[in-house]
């Protein structure tokens, strides 16, 4: 078992709380020293990247994780809150329990990467720099924490910690309709998370484990304990398998996560938030935040409620299908560049949903891989929009044309990103989409065929956008446009390299997640099987 520690503190704590240290430094820096604030944030994200490389290096590909404590890696376990309660409530115990497996490791790496890129992309923010970077770093901790927590309570805290920074980052530094977009995001997400809170409490009171120190039964927030059907008290709210109460709880969790993904019809906050958010925040939103929803489904909803997960598998696949087609059709209708990318996110996250809903190993691997790829590709797309918007101060697709000759380097990067997004072979997006459709086809034949039509639509709007921006004649007013600069290239090139590399040789990432994805599928299927037998 690998244990990586520095100053007697585990690597996951470091990677999660480094941004908080950075935030404190940023807050203490003198107000006018903007450069130092930027470099502090950048330094933090570079360190996080370094740590994620260490994790990548030492991560044991053979361990599955999911529901076993032994399968989790880089674990940290510290009792945090322990209240010897009244008899009726039992003992309240919340642990600081971190650990990663194949599902979360790629997300941790993605978070580090996207945060780094977002920090570079926010270099030219001039309005209250201190506040911006402090909030950005706090947001970073929240995101990282979600992916490494194995205690539901801790997970929930991290999940909620992100809301406020996000509200302010959109609300203060956003575009003209920022107030509306920010509050819409906030209320939607809070609505989802309070439902999740209730499901969490219901789980807490339904699950009890034997406390090793006293030999008494006690309730727990430990996610891994919640995954074991034997730990559910038969008389409790969520006891048994396949009961209607369990389905309600699953739906409550599902809504909480679906709003984040966002799954149709909970997606309406997304276009607003994306369009109004500053570039870096759009990058984070699309690159990491959306993944939390699908990650939550995989980490919490599926293994804890395998009966409900299988019961609702077809509806899940169906909303995935709607997301793919609806997102693509909406994207096609947009004339605002950023809104187009936002809707393409809806479409691409639909592919993740479809893959998960297949509940077979190709589908699951494809879904996780697609989460990673969507993170990198969409981050690129938003950066690209940001580059253009910084220069032209408009995002109207019909305002542009013939930029190919004017901005050749920019065009090259954009072509890579667009082809990756439409799933061109040799780009990473192709591999994950292929896996998803391969997996989904085995389970839902017609739905998958219909969903695959989304790929055609995607190719349609992506190519049409390329045409509108790059081909044709350059309007007079854009004669002064300059090509992409070095800073912007630094943020884009690493992503482009990853996208192409994983398109040609995806094994490094697939190896990371393969064992866990298989174990997850196996676990959910067998759990649901027990439910059928019990019925």
């Amino acid at each position: 078992m690998m244990e990586l520690k520095f100053l007697n503190v585990g690597i996951l704590t470091w990677i999660t709380f480094l941004p908080v240290l950075g935030m404190i430094v940023v807050l203490l820096l003198p107000k006018n020293n903007k450069t130092a604030m930027r470099w502090t944030s950048l330094g933090v994200t570079i360190l996080q990247m370094a740590l994620s490389v260490v994790i990548f290096q030492y991560f044991n590909r053979g361990l599955a994780g999911i529901n076993t404590v032994d399968g989790m890696q880089f674990k940290e376990f510290i009792p945090w809150i322990d209240v010897q309660s009244l008899a009726i409530l039992g003992r309240l115990k919340i642990d600081y329990f971190l650990g990663i497996d194949g599902i979360s490791v790629s997300m941790v790496m993605l978070t580090a990467l996207v945060s780094f890129v977002a920090t570079i992309a926010s270099w030219n923010i001039e309005k209250s720099v201190k506040g911006f970077f402090a909030l950005l770093l706090l947001l970073n901790t929240g995101m990282m924490g979600v992916f490494v927590s194995l205690d539901f309570f801790l997970f929930y805290i991290f999940w909620e910690v992100m809301l406020l920074p996000m509200y302010f980052l959109i609300g203060v530094w956003g575009g003209p309709r920022r107030e509306y977009a920010a509050i819409k995001f906030f209320i939607y997400t809070l609505f989802g998370s309070v439902l999740m809170l209730l499901a969490m409490l219901a789980l807490y009171f339904s699950v009890s484990v034997i406390d090793p120190s006293t030999g008494m039964k006690m309730h727990t927030f430990n996610m891994l304990a919640m995954m074991n059907p034997a730990n559910f008290d038969p008389a409790s709210l969520l006891g048994g398998l396949g009961t209607s109460m369990r389905y309600y709880a699953y739906v409550a969790l599902f809504i909480g996560f679906a709003i984040k993904v966002p799954i149709f019809p909970f997606h309406t906050w997304l276009p607003d938030a994306h369009v109004e958010a500053p570039t870096a925040i759009s990058v984070i939103l699309a690159g990491v935040l959306l993944k939390m929803g699908t990650y939550g489904l995989m980490r919490i909803a599926f293994p804890i409620f395998p009966d409900a997960a299988i019961y609702f598998a077809y509806p899940l696949a169906f909303v995935g299908f709607i997301n793919i087609i609806y997102g693509a059709l909406c994207a096609m209708a947009q004339t605002d560049f950023k809104k187009l990318i936002a809707y393409s996110s809806v479409s691409h996250m639909g592919i993740v949903i479809l893959g998960m809903a297949a509940f077979n190993s190709q589908g699951m691997v494809g879904a996780i891989f697609q989460m990673f790829n969507h993170g990198t590709i969409t981050a690129m797309l938003f950066l690209i929009v940001g580059v253009l918007y910084d220069r032209a101060h408009t995002r109207g697709l019909n305002d542009f044309g013939g930029l190919m000759n004017k901005m050749p380097k920019y065009s090259a990067v954009m072509v890579i990103a667009f082809f990756a997004a439409l799933g061109l072979p040799s780009m990473s997006g192709f591999v994950s989409e292929a896996f998803v459709f391969l997996g989904a086809f085995q389970t839902y034949r017609y739905l998958t065929i219909a969903s695959a039509f989304g790929i055609v639509l995607t190719a349609g709007y992506m190519l049409w956008t390329l045409q509108r921006v790059f081909l044709g004649t350059l309007p007079e007013k854009w004669n002064g446009l300059t090509d992409i600069n070095t800073r912007e290239l630094i943020s884009l090139v690493p992503l482009a390299v990853i996208v192409i590399f994983l398109g040609i040789y995806p094994m490094p990432i697939i190896n990371l997640m393969n064992t866990s994805a298989n174990a997850l599928v196996e676990f959910v299927r067998s759990g649901a099987g027990m439910a059928l037998v019990g019925r």
């Binding site: 008899a87 509050i183 309070v194």
Partner: protein
């Protein structure tokens, strides 16, 4: 007889300390005109003495004065909240422009504060309906005067009069209820009433009506809907210090009294069940009444708050909503729900007083409490604005602030009692509340100031006081074990399991 009185006096040291404080404050004010700092100092000193008195009573559980008062962990808990809140309000008042505008009447202002604290101390100890009524009147009468203490301002006087009228009506109805109960059971002592009721000594519809009349008095004190009509106007018109006081201490006292009366009178002491969970006397569905009351209270409070343009009035409606959340803890019929409500009170005290303190400081500078005057506060005073944001986040109930823990325990109690639908109503309400709290954030951070843009000066004591409120608001969100244990220990009432 005398020996017994003397013996009993030993158990009401905190109340004696407060009575002496009141006398000393009045005398000092008479002898040394315009030495208000001195009066405030005496009152604070008296509060400290009362605190020491309270500390000596920790763990006691006795009934004194022939069953009129109970000195138990439950009342001690509420007395601590009331005392802490009273001390904070005195400290706020020292820096409030509204209070200093009262000039020579400041002395009586502080004296009345201590009188009100005394009334509330007795309220949470009362185990006799008549004592409950008298102490309720003591704290109410002083609060009418206090809310009208800015005589020069029309809406302050209006607030006072409205409060008086509503108060007189409600306590009249309550008194009628008490007389009915006395007629039905032949006793005013709540333990005896319980015994009589348990033996079927009264027909249940009559008891139900009498109980509802009693509830009018309690409901008015905690401003539960539909007995809340006085709240917004009084909260808006009264000096902000008093608004803060009413919204926390007065509500705490009302809740303390309500919880004791509810638990002692309507619980079936003979029923067997899980320890800590109780069942109600057969035939009187007090639970359903409380469910309706709590749903109405939080929903109406939150929905009306959405439309407020005055921050003080907004906080008034928000405090109505919070009373609704706290009522949820009572609905559970168990010690876990009670302790959740008590825990909520401690947390609510820090966050609500904090929010009102920021309102006081802002209105010291801008002269009003409109939403407009919060525009650009983030730039004018980052410390105040960030502080306000944290208090409001906590009031919304988002982690990692204390407000989340308060709500968590209440919803946990509900889920544990399998009252899922009610829990859903509760959490959806907190989503609604986000919207109006966020309006304040929006004005503070997202908008530029339309008028004054200069920095708001903050003195050192103000910093310190705000930090004293801020630190627990955050810290209790991350480490709440001891407080929870204390609340759960304090749920024990005299004479009841």
């Amino acid at each position: 007889m005398l020996a017994q009185i003397l013996f009993n006096l030993a158990f009401i040291k905190p109340e004696i300390a407060l009575t002496m404080t009141l006398c000393a404050a009045i005398l000092t004010d008479l002898l040394y005109k315009n030495r208000t700092g001195l009066v405030a100092g005496i009152v604070l000193g008296g509060f400290a003495a009362a605190a020491i008195g309270l500390a000596t009573q920790a763990g006691l559980s006795v009934s004194v004065f022939n069953g009129a008062l109970a000195i138990d962990p439950f009342s001690n808990f509420f007395k601590m909240v009331i005392l802490a809140c009273s001390s904070f309000v005195v400290l706020f008042s020292l820096g409030s422009n509204e209070v200093s505008a009262m000039k020579s009447r400041q002395g009586e202002y502080y004296a009345l504060l201590s009188a009100m604290a005394l009334g509330m101390f007795l309220m949470v100890s009362a185990t006799d309906l008549l004592v409950m009524y008298v102490t309720l009147e003591l704290s109410s009468l002083t609060s009418y005067i206090l809310s009208g203490s800015m005589k020069a301002q029309k809406n302050s006087s209006e607030a006072s009069l409205k409060y008086l009228l509503y108060g007189a009506f409600s306590s009249g109805v309550m008194l009628y209820g008490i007389s009915l109960i006395y007629g039905l059971t032949g006793s005013l002592n709540i333990f005896t009433i319980n015994t009589v009721l348990a033996h079927g000594g009264a027909s249940s519809p009559a008891v139900l009506i009498a109980g509802i009349f009693l509830l009018v008095g309690f409901g008015y004190k905690i401003s539960a809907v539909p007995f809340h009509f006085w709240t917004p106007d009084v909260y808006e018109g009264a000096p902000t210090t008093i608004t803060a006081f009413l919204s926390v201490a007065s509500k705490a006292a009302g809740f303390g009294m309500l919880m004791r009366a509810f638990k002692v009178v309507f619980i079936d002491t003979g029923a067997l069940g899980t320890p800590g969970a109780w069942s109600l006397l057969h035939g009187i569905d007090a639970q359903s009444i409380l469910i309706v009351l709590s749903i109405l209270t939080m929903t109406l409070g939150n929905l009306v708050a959405l439309w407020q343009d005055n921050v003080k009035r907004l906080l008034a409606y928000s405090s109505i909503a919070h009373a609704g959340y706290m009522l949820l803890g009572l609905v559970v019929l168990g010690n876990d729900g009670f302790s959740a409500t008590m825990l909520y009170f401690v947390i609510y005290m820090f966050m609500n007083l904090g929010a009102f303190y920021v309102v006081i400081l802002v209105s010291n500078n801008t002269g009003n409490e409109t939403m407009e005057s919060y525009k650009g506060l983030g730039a004018r005073s980052p410390f105040l604005a960030v502080g306000m944001a944290i208090f409001l986040v906590s009031l919304t109930g988002l982690p990692p602030t204390a407000g989340f823990i308060g709500k968590l325990y209440i919803f946990a109690a509900l889920i544990n009692a399998k009252m899922v639908a009610l829990a859903i109503v509760g959490v959806l309400n907190s989503v609604v509340s986000l919207y109006y709290y966020a309006r304040v954030f929006r004005n503070m951070f997202l908008r530029e100031s339309t008028g004054e843009t200069s920095l708001i000066p903050i003195s050192m004591p103000t910093y310190a006081l705000l930090l004293i409120l801020l630190v627990p608001t955050i810290l209790l969100g991350l480490y709440f074990g001891p407080l929870v244990q204390f609340a759960q220990y304090s749920v024990a009432m005299f004479g009841i399991k």
